[in-house]
Amino acid sequence: MAVSYEHKLLYRHEGPLDMENLPYIVQTMDRLLHSEGLRPPFRRKVVSALIELAQNIIRYGAPDEVRPPLLSLARSEKGFVLTAKNLVHYSQEIFLRSYLTNLMEMSRDDLEKLYNTTLTEGSMSEKGGAGLGLVQVIFKADEFSYELTPADEQYSWFTVKASFSPGV
């Protein structure tokens, strides 16, 4: 059976995610992209997005040993697709939908303005986030999508997909 080129999985981490194993995941993904012949600016886009998505999971994801988060990188026809999936408490859904819908409707110019304004005038959260991670991922990705699907009565699966094309 032929493996679909559009969905060739290059890397998959499904398990506990913390600041202890994140450097290993970052290094592995960087080496993988290097071995695929990708140059530094492209690797930086993808790996920086990985770091932001992973740290959002570490800071805000619902910890659940039985249903841990997932990070993956796949090759697609146009380039590479980074996927981050984790459980979130249902109370976070309304915020996430509203925040992401707003960001995804913005033009690139407006996203850049928001990034620069938040960088220069925004404040840091208690957990050390700057409110810039998803803005940067959406700005740098060629395509971005998300899904929130019920996992049980209290939690939902939050899945983010960011696509990057080396030629763009």
Partner: protein, 136 residues
């Protein structure tokens, strides 16, 4: 690292997720290099910013010497990007006190993403900000 403000130099060893920090006032040379994606950038950089604020407050300007901050980062997260701007603002304050300063943003020549990040800072900060591309 309990009382950084009393040290003449500031040195923090690098880890996989945090950079080497080497601030050496006697050499007019300040350096940040490596990865910077701590989980909580504010927590990691607060002692650095406190040390720098103390230095700015106590420093007597040396008009014939330039204090250089060299930034040579690999991967860094967006919260680090924000804290770096706070650090650069302290170099602005140092300059306002009459101390010549210069920030050197060092990156791989082909890494246009890092060049763009440097260009954004160059616009945002009011001190001489030099982009230094390196060939591998």
């Amino acid at each position: 690292m309990s009382d950084l403000s009393l040290s003449e130099n500031l040195y923090i060893e690098p880890t996989f997720t945090t950079p080497e920090i080497r601030f050496e006032p006697s050499k007019q040379y300040f350096f940040i290099g490596g990865n910077s994606y701590p989980e909580n950038s504010l927590k990691f950089y607060t002692p650095v910013l406190d040390w720098m604020r103390h230095f700015v407050e106590k420093h007597s300007p040396l008009p014939d010497q330039t204090i250089v901050l060299e930034v040579r980062l690999e991967y860094f997260n967006t919260s680090t990007a924000k804290v770096l701007l706070d650090l650069f603002r302290l170099f602005e304050t140092l300059q306002e006190k009459g101390q010549p300063v210069r920030i050197r943003w060092v990156y791989l020549a082909e890494d246009t993403e890092m060049e763009d990040a440097g260009l954004d800072y160059q616009v945002a900060v009011k001190v001489p900000f030099e982009l230094v591309p390196l060939n591998e």
